[in-house]
Amino acid sequence: MPNTIHIKAFGMVAEKIGLAELVIDYSGDSSELLEVLLVKFPVLKSVKFSLAINKKLVSGNQEIPSGAEIALLPPFSGG
């Protein structure tokens, strides 16, 4: 059963894909989502970024809860 997930993109990632937000129907874990995103936006292959699920950085592979907020985060450069 596909989930509706909200994806937010920031910084260089948002610039490269030309979108700051998208909503997709999706079922799978975070590794599978990454593959889907790289197919949808091949330009992301040349960009370094991390995933966050519900505002927590993903390390390794993680389940994606229903209604999750996913974020695509290029390397931080605050300060």
Binding site: G11, K55, L73, F76, S77, G79
Partner: protein
């Protein structure tokens, strides 16, 4: 006696003014247990890039996540050092060269705690907060800031 702390907004629209810093310092004169304050200020530098010269940085953030993370960092630093006060302000939007984009302020009874906590806070803010700087160049171009 423990005070329960809740997430505070750290973001300021545009540059941080020297007057805001003076006001923040003055606010601490009533706390007469404080012996030392340590302050770090980040200022936008007119770096020369191959693509042009930096004239401003445009900051964006994943604000909700940044505030959660800033709170987590605050709590960790309060647990590690005997601090009286801690304040973090980071700019969003455009900050021109020579203007201030980061204001970190720690206070404690003895100087060492304030200094060490301030240093560690700055490192963690730069490493762990989802904030991005887009360096605007004098060539109408831009590059994405990289923290080293």
């Amino acid at each position: 006696m423990e005070k329960v702390r809740t997430p505070k907004n750290i973001f300021v629209q545009g540059p941080i003014s020297p007057e805001k810093i003076a006001k923040s310092i003055a606010n601490h004169s009533s706390n007469t247990a404080i012996g030392g304050h340590s302050i770090f200020l980040g200022q936008v530098r007119s770096d020369e890039k191959p693509e042009g010269k930096v004239i401003a940085i445009d900051y964006t953030a994943y604000e909700e996540m940044a505030l959660e993370k800033a709170f987590e960092i605050r709590e960790a630093i309060f647990a590690k050092y005997p601090l009286t006060c801690m304040h973090i302000y980071h700019s969003l939007g455009e900050v021109k060269v020579g203007e201030l984009c980061l204001f970190v302020f720690t206070s404690s009874k003895h100087r060492k705690a304030a200094m060490q906590a301030c240093d560690e806070l700055v490192e963690r803010i730069k490493a762990d907060l989802p904030v991005w700087g887009k360096e605007i160049l004098d060539t109408d171009n831009h590059v994405w800031k990289v923290n080293v």
